[in-house]
Every structure is written in structure tokens, then in C-alpha cells.
Symmetry: C2
Subunit: 319 residues, 2 copies
């Protein structure tokens, strides 16, 4: 659950960092671009095992479980990176996990979750969304862990800010891709717990920018999303439960185009030798756009899970 008015202390984030030390690596902060007005550096979460920051959240969610809950097993609703991260952390702790996924999820992703030892149950998309919203799976499959709206998830994601503070003592801006908002809110809350206030820039893609639309409307709204190779951000709306935190913690939103994301992915491949997914490169695109402000900027490269043929067609379209 996400506690009302959740404002965790530094001690809570430090405990999360200790709890996930065997599961997640401390990702490097890589130099990327420098200009007289400031530098851009990359927090390369795509280098985590399974290719995304989600292992931080999954591992911490299990670390914070009561013993009785762990013994009874846990359940989640996710089709992607969070389920994989949770499945890896669960396998290491020998905790039984049931993953509820939409039947529309790619078979290869479901197979990867099963290969990590989790039980996968598929549902129609509307039934699955119902589970996401209500946390009721209709089964006695144990304690439900939400992929975003969960204290433990925000604490796990916030460990990124603890590392950033040690890695660079002159951060003006942090660009974070925003989907559910768990990554952004975790990082922003941890900076506040540290007594730091870098500008927090939420990065959305033009084909699906529900946070921008919700800020305009002054409330969480649903939008029509346009599918693209950017599948890790840009959902159909803002989660009600996350809206108060997003309103408080986001300093500005930068909406980047698919072309800007393509360019960022190409630069990351050519200059930094990193394979990034579209969502992971959205923060880099925002930092490069000039629309995130001046000064020293961290772009959080959230993940690298993209099919190689898709990656190839984006960074090397002539081949």
C-alpha cells in the first residue's frame, strides 16, 4: 500500500539501500555531454540485472514483507519489468510469487517471468486493470504488491538518489521518465529526505503524455495513447493514488517527440555504448532538448529492454 502523506525519512531510504544490496548494483553515473552551461550525466539503470531499475523496487518490497506474508506468498499485477524484478528477488528469497498479467502481454515476457519461477495467471485486459485498481486478484494468492503505489516500491526506487548524491555533488536537475510515476516520486522523495532540492523534470513522450494533460486539467485524466516503440512510459492515464505526490514533486514536464527519443538512443549507442529502450532514452532526449533548464543535469536511463530488431531499426535505420 501507499501510505497517505508518505514522506519517508533518510533512515528509511538507507534501510532500503541496505536491503537491496545483494539484488541491485550501484549503477554508474556516466559522463555524457559537457557545455559551458553545464554537464549531462547518465544514471545507467539499464545496466541492472534484467535491464531496469525495477529490481530495486521488487527486492525492497520483499525485504519489507512481514515473515508471515513472505511464508504465505505474494502476488502482483504487471506484465513487464516489475514482475521480472520481483520474480528474481522472490526466487532468491524462496518466496512464492503469482503474477497477474493481461493476456495481451508478449509471450516472451511471460515466459521470462515463469523461467524465474513465478506462477503466471493471465486475464482479459479489463479484468487485469480491475486487479491493478482494486488489488483484489480473486484468489488466495497472498499479499498483493502493487508495481507503483507502494511505500516499499518508492523506497526502493529512491535508493537511486542516495547513489547520485555520492556520485555528483553539483546536481541542478534530474530528468526522469514518467510512466506510473513510481521512479520519479521515489527519487524526488529521497532527495527531499537528503535535504536536497534539485529540479525534478518529468519526461513524457508526445504520443502519450497523460501527466501533461492532467496538469492542464488540474486532476488525473485519461488519454488516448498512440502506440510506438516507446512502450515503457506513456500509459492511458495518471494513477489517482499517485496524483498528489506527482503534483507536489514534479517541478516541470518536458514532452519529447519520437524523433528526439530516436536521436537520444542513437547518441547513447554511439557515444556511450549503451542499449536503451525508448522510455529509458526519454530523459536523455529531454536533457538534450534544452527544455529541461540549464546547469548540471542527471538523466535517469531507466531501462534497456527493447527487442534487438526494434533497437536496430531505430539507431541504424539504413541497415
Amino acid at each position: 500500500m501507499l501510505s497517505a502523506g508518505f514522506r519517508p525519512s533518510l533512515k528509511e531510504f538507507t534501510a532500503a539501500a541496505a536491503a537491496i544490496a545483494e539484488d541491485a548494483i550501484q549503477t554508474p553515473l556516466l559522463p555524457f555531454r559537457a557545455s559551458p552551461s553545464g554537464e549531462i550525466r547518465l544514471k545507467a539503470e539499464n545496466l541492472q540485472q534484467l535491464g531496469s531499475f525495477k529490481i530495486r523496487a521488487g527486492a525492497n518490497a520483499l525485504a519489507m514483507l512481514a515473515d508471515a506474508d513472505a511464508a504465505a506468498g505474494v502476488a502482483t499485477a504487471s506484465a513487464g519489468n516489475f514482475a521480472q524484478g520481483l520474480a528474481l528477488a522472490a526466487a532468491r528469497r524462496r518466496i512464492k510469487l503469482t503474477v497477474h498479467a493481461p493476456s495481451t502481454a508478449p509471450a516472451v515476457k511471460l515466459a521470462a517471468i515463469q523461467a524465474l519461477g513465478a506462477l503466471v495467471e493471465t486475464h482479459s485486459y479489463s479484468d487485469w486493470w480491475q486487479i491493478m485498481s482494486t488489488r483484489h486478484t480473486g484468489r488466495a494468492d497472498g499479499h498483493f504488491i502493487h508495481p507503483v503505489c507502494e511505500d516499499a516500491v518508492l523506497l526502493g526506487n529512491g535508493t537511486i538518489a542516495l547513489e547520485l548524491t555520492r556520485q555528483w555533488n553539483r546536481i541542478d536537475t534530474v530528468c526522469v521518465p514518467v510512466g506510473g510515476g513510481g521512479l520519479l516520486c521515489g527519487i524526488a522523495l529521497a532527495f527531499r529526505a537528503l535535504g536536497a532540492r534539485p529540479r525534478i523534470v518529468a519526461c513524457e513522450v508526445a504520443t502519450a503524455a497523460p501527466l501533461t494533460r492532467s496538469r492542464e486539467a488540474g486532476r488525473p485524466v485519461s488519454i488516448q495513447r498512440q502506440p510506438s516503440f516507446v512502450d515503457g512510459i506513456g500509459g492511458g492515464g495518471v494513477l489517482e493514488e499517485m496524483w498528489p505526490l506527482l503534483q507536489e514533486l514534479v517541478d516541470s514536464v518536458v514532452v519529447v517527440s519520437l524523433d528526439e527519443i530516436r536521436d537520444a538512443m542513437r547518441f547513447l549507442a554511439l557515444e556511450s555504448h549503451l542499449i536503451c529502450e525508448g522510455a529509458g532514452a526519454a530523459s536523455v532526449a529531454a536533457a538534450l532538448s534544452g527544455r529541461a533548464g540549464s546547469g548540471n543535469c542527471v538523466a535517469v536511463v531507466s531501462g534497456g529492454n527493447i527487442d534487438l530488431p526494434v533497437f536496430t531499426s531505430v539507431v541504424c535505420p539504413e541497415s
Copy 2:
């Protein structure tokens, strides 16, 4: 110059690490594969600026220059990564650099060196090889820095071992791609200075394995190399000056096939989200082959400089 009987102390390696701290990053050691018999982890030097470990050597070579030599400018003979690393380090220190390159070098590489502010002089391949062998450029272009046979170069490369020792305290084997041998000898000498003796495995590619042939012959021999996408290792012979060190420091050689390197590059892309050049993946191929021995193994991923269309054709041949 490479001093006769060069056996540097830990203090010398520590000084090199301090000297290059502004130029090179401490690259991460990434988990890659685990089995009951041991783990393989990746020392990701492809994440260095300019995409290879060479920045360590270039920066340290300039740091160790006498002031008078620095004021007069420096020269080197290289067509690739070393010249780029040296050029970047020289630009940062405002030291004049002349790079002597073979006219066969790719124009794009020469342009990159010039863009970093260095003067490029091209020569016929035989004239260039003469410069590499004699260190006489025929010009008054200052102190000559050899890309391999140089105390400062081995010290710079050896800083990798200092980081490895902090990153993992249970290293049984270190797999290192071997071209000139500067990377391998630097790392092996630093481990000795640290009082550690992991098994040092030199990794060659089947299309050009001069170290294997030289070890069979008991002396440095020239070979006929077969060109391939693996262009960072596999020269036409072993450098006379490096032979005594290579004989002493190499515990075994593993020769990997082009197919094994292709597989390693694909695994690195899919599982680790890294773009690696063929030479950089040779160490990973050796570690995966089972022929490097058992236990915990570090594969030094030396670089990531590969044209994207070539990378694409290797890791994603169906596209």
C-alpha cells in the same frame, strides 16, 4: 619507453590512479553469469569516454611527462583508440599532440582525432610501421609516446586491477583481450604489486593468434592475419619489447572463434545492454567457453568502438 625489467610498485599504480581520476571513470564490474562452479563478471571499459580503456593509458602518459616535455609537445604513432585517448587527455591539459597514422586508417577515425585538437600526419603503412618500431618520426614534434611499450601506459592500464580488487574479493581468473599486450601486462603487473595472483588468461581470435604461435615457437613470430569484424586485437605479430613480459605474465591463452565472439556480443547486448566491439567481447567469449578454467572470472570488456551497421549485422543478422 618501457624500462627493462619493469616491475612497478603498488605506489606507482596508486599514483597513476590519482593522475587519471579526472580523465577516466572507475568502470563498473557488472554481474553477467552465475553457475555453481563460479561467476563471470564484466569489467565494462567500453563505458569509458571514447569507448575504451585507452584513456587510462593516454592520460597517465601525459601526467607522467616532465614539464619541459609537456611544453614542447608530444607525438605518437597510432590509428585508433590510443590516439583518441591521448588526444582527449592532451586537449584537457593544453599539450600539443602530433599523431602519426597510416594512410590506410579510416578517415572517420582521423577526423575524430583532429576534432580533439591533435595534428594528424599520415604515412605509407611501411613508413608508419618504421615509426612504431623506432620511435623516430623524422620531425621535431616532441617526446614520443608509444601506444603499448611505455611504463606510463602499463601503469595507466593497471589501474583496472586496483579497481577490480576493491570490487570483488574472490577473483580466480582474469580474461583479457590481447593485441599489443599493454592491457594484459598492465593488469597482471598491478595484481602482482597488490600481492594477488589470479590466473591471467590472454584472449586471441582464431583469425589472428600471434601470441599462441609465438608461445609455440618460443619467440615472437609474425603471422598472416585474416581480416574480420574483430579489428582491435589480432595483429601481425608480437612486439619484441613486450615478449619477455608476456612470457612471464600470461598463464594461458584461449583462442576463440569468430562465432564465439558473435555469440558473446549478442549475449552482452541482450543481457547486459552493452555495445561491445569484437575485441572487447573476446574475453567474454573465452570466459563462456569453459577453456579459461573454473571459479570466479572477470572478463575485461576492453572497448565498444564498432560501426553500428557492423554491430547490427553481428548481433541481429536476420534484420
